[in-house]
């Protein structure tokens, strides 16, 4: 019985195997594996390719960006829905790390650790990284979230089924479910303002100009000048998300 089911002789097996292997080799030579493409490289290399720069040295933690984002985008006022927020990191002399974000920093910060216990302290404004290979887009089962040609990750509110898979997938915690709409909501880089030639609200409002917004494809843009003159780093680079949010003076404690 077993002899009848297989008619593959040793010669034929090797023949078929060689054809298959050479086929795979030719196909991979024609379209090389691009898993190692770096973040700032745009796929089209023409048109706009937006990126974000944040200078932690300049941030004074006023929380105006978080406040402006809530007002511009009608984000619910509850202190746990944020598209953009600020965290205060305090590293104490004993090595322990304290991360605070009282209602996202919308109303500013008050120092909770006395000066003599602090080793160092700094503010980290956080928002959507607009990843070039965003995990949230990859996991959406219905195609309700996508990356535009300009490198902005958007949500299709009419198509979203509210399954919360993207909220789980985002390694930066930048998505939430809108309590009224029941759909996923996130930073759109103020897409409605960009179309009128304006900056996103949080960049427009930053009093110390710690936030820099620009086109990564334009060598003369403010952002490229910032990236050239500072040692910038993205958060969680080991995840290879292609993050386009670059921090100057980013401490390794930031997660």
């Amino acid at each position: 019985m077993n002899q009848d089911t297989t008619k593959l002789s040793r010669r034929n097996f090797f023949k078929a195997g060689t054809v298959l292997a050479s086929g795979v080799a030719i196909a991979s030579a024609l379209t090389p594996y691009d898993g190692l493409l770096f973040a700032a490289e745009s796929p089209g290399a023409k048109g706009k390719w937006y990126g974000i720069g944040i200078d932690i040295n300049k941030c004074i933690g006023c929380g105006k960006c978080a406040n402006a984002c809530k007002q511009e985008n009608n984000v619910p006022k509850d202190p746990f829905y944020f598209r953009s927020w600020v965290e205060q990191y305090t590293i104490k002399n004993d090595g322990s790390i304290l991360v605070e974000s009282p209602s996202g920093g919308v109303n500013g910060f008050t120092q909770s650790v006395p000066d003599n216990e602090i080793y160092k302290s700094f503010f980290v404004p956080k928002m959507c990284n607009h990843c070039a290979k965003s995990p949230c887009t990859q996991v959406c089962p219905v195609g309700a979230t996508f990356e535009t040609e300009e490198g902005i990750v958007l949500v299709d509110e009419k198509y979203c089924i509210g399954c919360r898979y993207c909220v789980q997938a985002c390694p930066y915690g930048c998505r939430y479910i809108h309590p009224e709409k029941g759909t996923a909501d996130k930073c759109t880089l103020c897409f409605h303002r960009l179309k009128h030639g304006l900056q996103p609200a949080c960049f427009e409002i930053c009093p110390t100009e710690a936030r820099i917004f620009g086109d990564l494809n334009d060598p003369g843009s403010k952002l490229n000048y910032f990236l050239k003159n500072h040692n910038c780093m993205v958060v969680k680079p080991h995840l290879n998300t292609g993050s386009k949010l670059f921090y100057n003076a980013l401490s390794p404690e930031v997660r």
Partner: protein, 179 residues
């Protein structure tokens, strides 16, 4: 086990029926997909291309600094001399697009109260940036004037007299446009 049952020429009746049921389901799926799929889906990728346009339709609330100075010229001139010259008006006063659009459309008319912007001046308003905080003291090495934010300990600096019920707001002594 006889080999006849697997012979194609002698396909059993139940397999034939199963194939026809599958064919009906596949055709039904293709028809339904054609009807239910939005027309712009898949045009630019695995998403509805119309959603890009729909995202641009959201209302704006923040305007740009230039629209404030159309009316408030003297404040701008005052502010340009002080340390707050690089601050935009909306940093302290809040979003003002509706305010400026109303002023532009109905020139000379009285603004309704709902469109009047916030006038900060209390201790907590200024303290958002100027309250002493260990994370706010920055070492400057490239540019000097950009981020030097004056640090005040609000508990020590002219504390409000609670007995006399005097608020001791910051604007009682300081002009916020020219601090």
């Amino acid at each position: 086990m006889s080999d006849n049952s697997l012979n194609k020429q002698n396909m059993p009746q139940h397999i034939k029926r199963l194939i026809s049921v599958f064919a009906i389901f596949i055709v039904l799926f293709l028809v339904m997909r054609q009807v239910l799929k939005p027309s712009s889906f898949g045009k630019l990728g695995h998403f509805r291309a119309d959603a890009i346009y729909e995202n641009t339709l959201k209302p704006m609330h923040y305007t740009i600094a230039d629209s404030c100075t159309k009316c408030h010229k003297s404040v701008r001139a005052e502010k340009d001399k002080g340390f707050h010259k690089r601050l935009k008006c909306e940093v302290c006063h809040g979003p003002g697009l509706k305010h400026s659009l109303f002023a532009e459309q109905f020139k000379g008319k009285e603004l309704p109260d709902s469109l009047k912007l916030y006038k900060p001046g209390e201790r907590k308003d200024c303290g958002v940036c100027h309250q002493k905080n260990a994370a706010r003291i920055k070492i400057q090495f490239d540019t000097i004037n950009t981020t030097m934010v004056h640090q005040i300990d609000l508990a020590e600096h002219n504390p409000p007299d609670l007995k006399a019920n005097e608020p001791a707001n910051c604007i009682d002594c300081h002009n916020p446009h020219q601090p």
